[in-house]
Amino acid sequence: MTHILKPQFRHPNLRTNSVGLTRRDYEGVISTLCAGCGHDSVTAAIVEACFEMEIPAHRVAKMSGIGCSSKTTNYFLNRSHGFNSVHGRMPSVATGANLANRDLVYLGVSGDGDTASIGMGQFCHAVRRRVNMLYICENNGTYGLTKGQFSATNDRASRNRKGMETPFDSIDLCNMAIELGAGFVARAFSGDKAQLVPLIKAGLHYRGFALIDVISPCVTFNNHATSTKSYDYVRHHNQMVGRLDLVPEQEEITAEYAPGTSTDVTLHDGAQMRLSKLDISYDPTDAETALPVLERYKRKGEIATGILYLDDREQDLHDLIGTTTKPLNEVDADTLCPGSDALAAINDAHR
């Protein structure tokens, strides 16, 4: 662990955004993760995305569970709200928080252990309920924090450092999320920020449940030659199927693409995205055809990355259950608590 504070000095020519901040203003405390951990790159990508989006830090709620990955919410946006929940319980806490205050931007960071083992049920229901949040799973195929046990996303073919095999098949969080009704599903690699940063931005813009499964190598416990989540393996088996570009606000979409290979989507908040197909058989807007293709990649040992699924209806939990349009802290006390007469009236209606 690094003992010094990260120096405050920054490059004198570092770019500023229109609110006068630099990328470094979106950082948190210095990471205590192992040197070279993929999670730190994801943190850097989040910082970059927030800087480019000029997100006001006080409008963000960072949610996480337990694990090396879950620790990272401390390493960015140190002026945001944050909640570090019990292991695997982040989706429920995020759901509750979101119901109470729908106006914040919810950014959940979890790990494959936190999500696909202890938190599996929680995760499934948050997806199913379409909680409006970006859920980033920093997936390294292992329980990093507890010293390298196999996680549920570890591939059958992937042995641990000592050569031990796992008898179980891996859970694919993306497939699962598509099936359960997530509106935005993507997979990325921590070592490719050119791909990851636009995905994070789009996921933050998206209304509804957005998942990015980021393959994020654990250098300490899962970066050996027989791992399918090592830097080398991911680099050699990375197949981008759908590319997502965010179109800057001021610019119109003018570039010409071959017909049928790209789709332009305007999100509820006006953000414009362009999806380009890199695999012609793959259509990220159609879950039915997409799932078998993803399965095929997986069986070949390839990692399909990019935007995997997008539902442009952008529905979220509040739409589905018809909650109040305001955050609860803006609803006055009388409305929040209509009193015993109102309760009696409701009870009467059920008699």
Partner: protein
């Protein structure tokens, strides 16, 4: 771009901005670290080895290192390098036992040095330990050159000067003080194996204007005036003094006049203030003492009444710049009359050699300047060398020292019958600073402090005493605080491309966005493409060989803090922090360098 060749000593040397900028290539960060640890004696010795006069230079150096200092590119002010040097000199312990031994049996070669300024003294310092028989010939009664006669004692106490000049003289040179050389031929006739001319640029320039001759009794050439004060031939001056000129000599003249009892002193400069030649800090010191500087004032006439100077008339000027060249044009405003009793003329100096015969093989150019080789310092007559201000006109002490080192190398090669162009290589060394996983042999925590200001004595006291040193120097705590501002630019980031797994950890952590993983390209494109474009073309790009993904690592050296975080975050040790030691070659054998943990 090609992969950077870090085995070329100049690559890392250039990264150490201060050392690269120092004419004598003093290993600055090494001694700054020693000062931070209170190891003043070692810090002094590093300086003495490189620049011979740490106490003198710690007060008076022109400090080309400071504008070059990397710290000045990440915040307002560079490290106070020069004043830290003084701390080492002022607080050191005994050093006599650390001085090189002087052979009692000489090597049989005799060398004459003409002039006893810093250039000649450096030659002597470098040659004496090799067994040369050195004769120093000086017009003045004491050694030191302009350091003694022109730099006022309120900037450079005589005791400091005596000590550091004495340290060289004590090596056992033969000295002939009070012996002006009036014929080079006669020196050559004495049969020396080599002669070094270190006579400086002794002639102060004059300025012709109506009334100049009539007022001669009250118009003094600045450098002559300062010498006369130094040697106590002048002890008073008129009540109202005008100093003409905007260089450091003018600043020394005006402050000296004030201390001799002048009631009003005015400095006048032809050009705008921004163009003044004097160092900023010297101007500040003069202004702090309440001396007004009138800029854009060009002397037009000396007014003489009843045979005595009464005033100087100035024409108002303004500067116009075309293609970067300045022209001073009269504004047409009414002339300015400044009444005065004495004028000090500080408008420049030149070297002059009326005493060198023109038929002895020493060629001079059309401006009567000797032809001197830039690398060997040899004149057109083999065995006759020039250095310091005598070679190419007025510079400063540290350049005189640097010339002296090079001339000494040449003299040694010449006397040993070797080719002067076969210059010895510098001594270089790279040593890992890794002590533990995240522990380094140097303090990599970066101080956010602003530059410390050197305290001054109360002006009420110093303005009354010509020899009272104005600057007090840093105390121990101030020195530590200031030393901690140094970025340790000699602790190099060394990259091994074969170890890199391209995890981006170093790029992500780097506080100043030095590190990039990108497609290789030609230098101009590469500079544009970096995370923060590398627009400081003086600073190198460190480019790796091809990595596994076909990309390269490109580090812009410009504002690297040498914080070591890249190496701390690297899982494979592809980055390492390594101390780069560069000691320029000298005739004097390089003493074994201490591999101490602090330096």
């Amino acid at each position: 771009m090609e992969k950077t060749d870090i085995s070329d000593p100049s690559y890392f040397h250039k990264v150490v901005d201060c050392q690269w900028a120092c004419p004598a290539h003093t290993p600055v960060p090494a001694y700054i670290r020693l000062i931070a640890h209170g190891r003043y004696t070692e810090a002094f010795m590093i300086n003495w080895e490189s620049n011979v006069f740490p106490g003198i230079l710690g007060r008076t150096c022109d400090r080309p290192c400071e504008p070059a200092c990397r710290r000045g590119r990440i915040e307002e002010k560079p490290v106070a390098i020069c004043r830290l040097k003084r701390v080492a000199a002022d607080n050191r312990g005994p050093v006599d036992h650390l001085m090189p031994a002087i052979p009692t049996v000489k090597n049989g070669k005799r060398v004459a040095l003409i002039g006893a300024g810093p250039a000649s003294l450096t030659v002597a310092r470098d040659l004496m330990p090799l067994g040369y028989d050195v004769t120093l010939i000086e017009r003045d009664p004491q050694g030191g050159g302009l350091m003694r006669k022109n730099i006022p004692s309120f900037r450079l106490p005589v005791a400091v000067l005596d000590e550091e000049v004495g340290r060289v003289l004590d090596m056992g040179l033969t000295t002939r003080f009070g012996a002006e050389v009036t014929s080079m031929k006669s020196v050559l006739d004495e049969g020396f194996d080599a002669v070094f001319v270190g006579t400086g640029a002794p002639r102060g320039k004059d300025l012709r204007a109506p009334g100049r001759d009539e007022a001669a009794a009250n118009i003094h050439i600045g450098t002559d005036f300062l010498s006369s004060v130094a040697f106590k031939h002048i002890e008073t001056i008129g009540k109202r003094v005008v100093v003409i000129g905007g260089g450091n000599t003018a600043m020394d003249c005006c402050r000296t006049a004030l201390r001799l009892g002048a009631e009003s002193v005015t400095v006048t400069v032809r050009s705008p203030c921004e163009d003044m030649k004097a160092s900023d800090w010297e101007i500040e010191d003069a202004e702090r003492e309440g001396i007004p500087i009138l800029d854009n004032h060009s002397p037009k006439e000396f007014v003489v009444e009843d045979g005595k100077l009464t005033a100087v008339v100035f024409e108002r000027m303004r500067a116009e710049y075309t293609d970067g060249r300045r022209k001073l044009i009269p504004t047409g405003e009414p002339d300015v009359v400044v009444e005065c009793d004495d004028v000090l003329m500080a408008v420049g100096q030149e070297n002059a050699f009326p005493w060198i015969e023109r038929d002895i093989g020493i060629e001079f150019n059309e401006w009567e300047q000797p032809q001197v080789d830039k690398d060997t310092f040899q004149s057109t007559r083999p065995g006759v060398f020039f250095g310091g201000d005598a070679a190419w006109g007025p510079e400063n002490i540290i350049w005189a020292v640097a010339h002296g080192h090079q001339a000494a190398i040449s003299i040694d090669l010449h006397c040993q019958g070797e080719d002067l162009m076969r210059r010895p290589a510098p001594h270089v060394n790279l040593a890992s600073q890794k002590m533990g996983i995240h522990e380094w042999a140097y303090d990599n925590d970066i101080s956010n402090d602003k530059r410390r200001i050197v305290p001054h004595v109360d002006p009420a006291l110093s303005l009354r005493d010509l020899s009272m040193e104005v600057e007090l120097g840093f105390d121990a705590q101030q020195a530590v605080d200031e030393a901690m501002r140094c970025l340790n630019c000699d602790i190099q980031t060394v990259f091994s491309d074969n170890l890199c797994i391209e995890c981006d950890a170093c790029m992500d952590i780097c506080p100043v966005d030095c590190i990039n993983f990108t497609q290789n390209a030609d230098e101009p494109d590469l500079r544009e493409d970096l995370r923060v474009p590398a627009m400081n073309h003086e600073q190198a790009l460190y480019v790796s060989g091809d990595l596994n993904t076909g990309r390269v690592m490109v580090k812009d050296e410009d504002v690297c803090l040498h914080c070591g975080l890249c190496a701390e975050r690297c899982p494979t040790g592809a980055w390492d922090m390594q101390k780069f030691l560069f000691v320029d070659a000298k005739a004097l054998p390089i003493p074994p360098q201490e591999q101490s943990d602090a330096a």
